[in-house]
């Protein structure tokens, strides 16, 4: 009887999880999704706790208390740090899956080797491989995003890197297969698989640069989900399989969107070591860059009827989103239509810019996707590029030798006037020259994004021209 009640709770939980994701299709209903998710989680936890074999209440209470104590502050991080928090939680997800797989394996080796059927062993091996590589890989990604000093920010590459990584993974998989065939006799291989998987996670992330983080985070999201699926197979639990599959497919779709937005393949992102190869030849010819003062730029913006702002990771780094909101208000007050052009890979994770601008209380209908805003670009009087670089580089359209050739971009060069806020003329993270900065109608606003936007706001507020 109790078993059926538990299964019923799991069933309702699965349905609620699906609804939680379904409601995310619109910001108006999205918060309902969180409620559904919490309800599903409560059902699942209570359903598990009422099972008769649960006796170690002290341990459970302790672990839950510490988890809550760590989890609550983790949800208070500033929104610019959300990518690192997300990576960290993928790491926790992977760790949990790996540990449960490990515990189950040793339990069965000691107390019931007949449970270690080839199918179960396949699931356990998949669970620990995915779980532990997600754990270290996500920790590395979080470290890179947090810019920890002892983790190299730039992609680290060395000779035979891909070959040695793949060999490592191959050895881990072979050990795994051996374990599937003879789980009890070869149990000593189990720690070997764990160790190799932990190492592979680190080595996988080392060659990856900041611009590829959106894809990698999505991919790790998918792995974390798949490790939960594997755990579901090990524990014979359909709720785990369902929830894990939802997470896995979500990560998969996000990674596909990110890859498409960069015109690259998974293999290229993971093994391509972006941002190393090109010591650009284009830099040879010395080209002219024009700069403009904040006052001058403010005057031109004031006269415009449509201003499109293109935010990038630089806006997040400079924490400029609240100044951008002030700029938005100043211009809107003067009857200027201000829109924000969001490139899918702007920032360090999918949707990063949307969240930052929403935090600054910019209404979300002003945030426009790349494909939609590009139609309006020729009508835009002013484009203001804030801390974005590759996503507005016209070289992606026509320069076959450019490493970003073929990547869909926001057509900032098609607007009548373009202002680009940048610290200096140093090429960005990927080291690619941006020809937008040399175009006839482009004017640079040199300085920190927050400071420059602040000056724009000040000149607009000071001029008072055209205020109704």
């Amino acid at each position: 009887m109790r078993a059926q009640v538990v299964q019923l709770a799991y069933l309702v939980g699965s349905a609620l999880f699906i609804f939680a994701l379904y409601w995310m299709n619109d910001p108006k209903t999205a918060r309902r999704g969180v409620v559904a998710g919490v309800a599903a989680m409560l059902l699942a936890v209570v359903g598990t706790l009422i099972q008769p074999e649960i006796v170690n209440w002290g341990w459970i209470a302790g672990a839950v208390a510490i988890g809550v104590a760590v989890g609550v502050p983790l949800s208070w991080v500033p929104l610019t740090a959300v990518p690192q928090r997300t990576a960290l939680s993928h790491a926790f997800g992977g760790l949990a899956a790996g540990l449960v797989g490990t515990a189950k394996f040793y339990l069965w080796v000691q107390e019931g080797p007949e449970n270690l059927t080839p199918f179960r062993m396949t699931a356990i091996v998949a669970e620990i491989l995915l779980g532990y590589l997600t754990f270290t890989g996500s920790l590395m990604a979080a470290g890179k995003l947090q810019e920890l000093r002892w983790i190299p920010q730039r992609p680290v590459t060395y000779r035979f890197q891909n070959l040695s990584n793949l060999t490592l993974l191959g050895v881990a998989v072979l050990c795994g297969i051996a374990l599937i065939v003879k789980p009890v006799e070869l149990a000593y291989l189990f720690p070997v698989v764990i160790g190799l998987s932990l190492a592979f996670g680190v080595l996988l992330i080392i060659p990856i640069g900041g611009a590829d983080m959106p894809t990698v985070i999505s991919l790790l999201n998918s792995y974390a989900g798949l490790s939960a699926v594997a755990m579901g197979f090990v524990l014979d639990n359909k709720l785990l399989v369902t929830a894990g599959a939802l997470d896995g497919s979500s990560g998969l779709i996000l990674s596909i969107i990110m890859c498409r937005a960069m015109n690259r393949s998974f293999a290229n992102v993971l093994f391509g070591a972006f941002g190393q190869v090109q010591a650009s030849a284009a830099a040879a010819e010395k080209k002219n860059v024009k700069s403009e003062t904040a006052e001058g730029a403010a005057q031109i913006m004031e006269q415009a009827s449509l201003v499109v702002v293109v935010p990038g990771y630089g806006m997040a780094v400079a924490q400029a989103q609240h100044r951008v909101k002030e700029l938005y208000e100043q211009l809107t007050k003067r009857g200027v239509d201000v829109r924000f052009a969001i490139h899918p890979v702007a920032g360090r994770m999918p949707g990063h810019m949307n969240v930052l601008l929403a935090e600054a209380e910019i209404p979300y209908e002003k945030l426009v996707e790349m494909d939609d805003i590009n139609h309006d670009m020729p009508q835009a009087d002013v484009v203001l590029v804030i801390g974005a670089n590759d996503v507005v580089n016209p070289a992606a359209r026509h320069d076959k030798s450019s490493p970003i050739f073929g990547m869909p971009i926001i057509d900032a060069d098609k607007a009548r006037t373009c202002f680009a806020i940048k610290r200096s003329m140093n090429p960005g993270f990927a080291g690619i020259e941006n020809e937008l900065y040399y175009a006839d109608h482009t004017y640079m606003l040199f300085g920190d994004a927050k400071a420059v936007v602040g000056e724009l706001v000040k000149s607009l507020a000071g001029s008072g021209v055209g205020v109704h």
């Binding site: 078993a3 699906i18 649960i54 760590v70 928090r85 997800g93 449960v100 579901g232 994770m349």
Partner: protein, 132 residues
């Protein structure tokens, strides 16, 4: 189209419901037949859930991809179920400790995942609602 998705979700929910009833009590020791039967049901669940996931996620607003990721984080922390079983049952201490660490990790994800998702979603406002 939207209602179709809703129906699909409901239907698959019903489908998932039949499965556990069918596979309710096959004890582990019943041997090969029970095990292989269970295997196919589990694979069915996996396949259907993946397709539902793909269908539902492609419809998620691009505005919300960051909250989506933190929400799926929290959802996949359903691993808490496995961690509770390992921690709670009578096992050697080392196993209990492994389970407790897993439980801690999952619990952290659940709490921070849901809280930060809600915090972010609260920020998405339209123009009308902002004006007093």
């Amino acid at each position: 189209m939207r209602s179709g998705k809703r129906v699909a979700a409901a239907l698959s929910g019903a489908f998932l419901g039949v499965l556990p009833a069918l596979a309710a009590e096959p004890a582990a020791k019943e041997g090969a037949t029970a095990a292989s039967f269970d295997l196919t049901t589990m694979l069915f669940v996996f396949m259907l859930a993946t397709f539902i996931g793909l269908g539902v996620i492609t419809r998620v607003s691009r505005l919300l991809h960051t909250p989506l990721m933190s929400l799926t984080n929290a959802i996949s922390a359903i691993a808490v179920v496995g961690a509770i079983v390992i921690t709670g049952a009578k096992h050697p201490p080392i196993i209990t400790i492994l389970g407790a660490v897993a439980l801690f990790a999952s619990m952290t994800n659940i709490v921070s995942g849901f809280l930060i998702t809600d915090r972010m979603l609260k920020m998405f406002k339209t123009q009308e609602r902002r004006k007093p």
